[in-house]
């Protein structure tokens, strides 16, 4: 057996160019499978992760959605509503926020826009983490006179571009800009770029109100979210003496609505995998067929000097396995690198954090495909050649 290995290695090494080409042919196919699958899994994870990270959230708003998407505001929550919510069991924390339109002034210019106030920690995770700051820092709980502004507020509202340390006047109160958001677009039905973010206390001051416009509740147990949402509605509706004053939407119910997306993603992934598999298999078959067929003459010579068909087959199978294995492993390595690069480029292009996820089963099946397809497609021409009469095979080439 050891002798056979030596002979097989020998033949692979001596036919360097051919062997490298064959290995590459196999590696390209496997790299395609591995990289596409890994990026695919990464995308799936990025999208589901983004959503499941919020699965314990219930959005509570004073109003209702009419005709499918138009939100009609019914008023605002009071501090009493928030206190009552704290008594509901199963709630981990409650974050109250408020927002309203406001007039912003910079030097002599005035513009209408929105103020958004809330717990700075919560706002940080809702807005700063996904959007990111271009300049300065995020608000602290004691920044009563500080504000962080959206991209349009900074760049488009006034003749001058607004930077950190510039002063804005909101409904007559002076604020210092401590940070500027990157361009963010719409987030939770709210245009980040046109907002000015304040602490909850400062926002209440500016807006001259104690009303809360938006409450985010986090629950301990996602399975209880639906029941808790019902209870929240009851408590607040009771407080306001109306039976449709508020809505409370669990993320779970939102997730269900977009559950189709996941099925589509999985379908696309399976399709990609199938295509990659077919492309890889054809490539491997082609290189392997070629590399064995062009050795028909050699097989003939071996038979002429006394090799049995099975001696020849054993030798070529061993050789094909080694080449396929090396090709498979090389393909996995290249595939992982390509996947990382694609993930990086994809993240940069989409703004979504896509990290290629390399699953061991993908690597293993990549290698398995390489070896199985490689050996089978090497076996076929080797068997054909080994069954020819020696003269016929020797005449070849």
């Amino acid at each position: 057996m050891r002798d056979k290995f030596l002979l097989a290695f020998r033949s692979i090494r001596e036919r360097k160019a051919r062997s490298i080409l064959t290995v590459l042919g196999i590696a390209v196919g496997i790299a395609a499978i591995v990289s596409l699958m890994s990026v695919g899994y990464g995308m799936e994870y990025a999208i589901t992760g983004e959503l499941t990270g919020m699965a314990d959230m219930i959005s509570v708003m004073p109003g209702k959605i009419m005709g499918g998407h138009t939100y009609i505001e019914m008023g605002g929550f009071t501090d009493r509503d928030v206190k009552d919510l704290q008594r509901i069991s199963g709630i981990k924390d409650i974050s109250a926020m408020t927002y309203d339109s406001v007039e912003v002034a910079y030097q002599d210019e005035r513009k209408p826009t929105f103020v958004f106030g809330g717990d700075t920690k919560d706002l940080e995770s809702f807005y700063v983490e996904p959007v990111g700051l271009k300049e300065g820092r995020w608000l602290r709980e004691n920044d009563y006179k500080g504000c962080v502004i959206g991209d349009q507020v900074a760049n488009d509202f006034f003749d001058d571009v607004i930077h950190v340390n510039d002063k804005l006047v909101l409904n007559g109160d002076k604020f210092v800009v401590v940070g500027v958001f990157e361009k963010g677009g719409m987030l939770y039905s709210n245009d980040v770029d046109r907002n000015i973010f304040l602490t909850l206390r400062a926002a209440k001051n500016v807006l001259q109100t104690d009303e809360i416009k938006y409450v985010v509740v986090r629950v301990y147990d996602i399975d209880e979210a639906e029941a808790i949402a019902e209870e929240i509605k009851e408590v607040i509706n009771d407080n306001h003496g109306l039976d449709d004053f508020t809505m409370a939407m669990t993320m779970g119910s939102m997730l269900e609505q977009i559950g189709d997306i996941f099925n589509i993603i999985r379908g696309v992934l399976a399709g990609i995998a199938a295509i990659a598999l077919i492309v890889a298999s054809i490539g491997i078959m082609n290189t392997m067929l070629m590399s064995v067929m062009e050795r028909t003459h050699e097989i003939g010579v071996m038979k002429a000097i006394g090799a049995k068909s099975r001696d020849v087959l054993a030798l070529f199978l061993l050789e094909s396995s080694i080449v396929s294995l090396v090709g498979g492993v090389t393909g996995c390595v290249v595939g992982v690198i390509v996947a990382k690069v694609l993930g990086f480029l994809g993240s940069a292009a989409s703004g979504l954090e896509i990290t290629a996820i390399v699953k061991p089963e993908v690597l293993l099946s990549g290698i398995a495909v390489a070896v199985i397809v490689g050996v089978l497609s090497g076996f076929y021409p080797a068997r054909k050649a080994s069954r020819m009469s020696p003269v016929e095979a020797v005449r070849y080439g």
Binding site: D3, L7, R10, S11, E14, R15, H297, E298, V301, M302, K303, A304, I305, G306, A307, K308, S309, R310, D311, S389, P390, V391, E392, V394
Partner: protein, 231 residues
């Protein structure tokens, strides 16, 4: 009486009404027509004849590299038609050493490994076969070139490696299809001398040649024409 029997044992190879027909589409070529010949143990036979007369076809059948269309080849009294593919491979491996005009060495292996290859297929251990291969290469005066690849050897040297390879399982019969056809006259003479030496050691030798001078050195010459062997 008993004479026929004795003759059969002495007879290394004999053929009975050997025919080989090649069919390519509508064209049928009768490469061998009813060849009956006997070659005795220890004989040195040269086969000559014009191009296309069927010399290679005959040698391929004698060497069990191909199957006849009809008729039979007997080797050491055994009808090769009755043998399985594997048994035929064993005959090629153990009883016959075949030398080609084109040398047909394995170009990825060096001289030593090429010579050792038939022993590898015979299951001979690595040390034993490499030692034997070395001896054989020394015998054909290539002791200095053992680790060279075929591409690094001259035609004559390659043919000597091929001769050494044909000897590696110590076969009783050496068959050469124009072994001197691709080398210059002096090298051809040297190769003939090696074959003559082997014949003196007792091996049965059958060679095809175009060279009358070389044919003259053989013990017996057979002339072929149009697929027939003339005496």
């Amino acid at each position: 009486m008993g004479k026929a029997k004795t003759r059969k044992v002495e007879c290394m190879i004999h053929t009975e009404n050997l025919c080989k027909t090649y069919r390519m589409g509508d064209v049928v070529v009768q490469a061998l027509r009813d060849v009956n010949m006997e070659i005795k143990d220890g004989e040195f036979v040269a086969i000559i004849g014009p191009s296309g007369s069927g010399k290679s076809t005959l040698l391929n059948l004698l060497g069990c590299l191909d199957k006849p269309t009809s008729g039979a080849v007997f080797i050491g009294g055994t009808d090769t038609a009755s043998l399985s593919e594997n048994a035929l491979a064993e005959i090629r491996r153990e009883k016959i050493g075949f030398i080609f005009q084109q040398f047909n060495l394995i170009h990825t292996l060096n001289a030593l490994e090429n010579v050792a290859l038939p022993m590898f297929f015979a299951g001979v251990g690595r040390d034993v076969r490499l030692k034997k291969a070395e001896e054989l290469l020394v015998k054909v005066e290539l002791g200095e070139r053992m680790y060279h690849k075929p591409s690094e050897l001259s035609g004559g040297q390659q043919q000597r490696v091929a001769i050494a390879r044909s000897l590696s399982n110590d076969p009783a019969i050496i068959i050469g299809d124009e072994p001197t056809g691709n080398v210059d006259t002096d090298t051809g003479t040297a190769i003939m001398q090696i074959l003559e030496g082997l014949n003196r050691e007792g091996k049965t030798i059958i060679v095809v040649t175009h060279d009358a001078e070389i044919a003259a050195r053989a013990g017996r010459t057979k002339r072929m024409r149009d697929g027939k062997v003339l005496e």
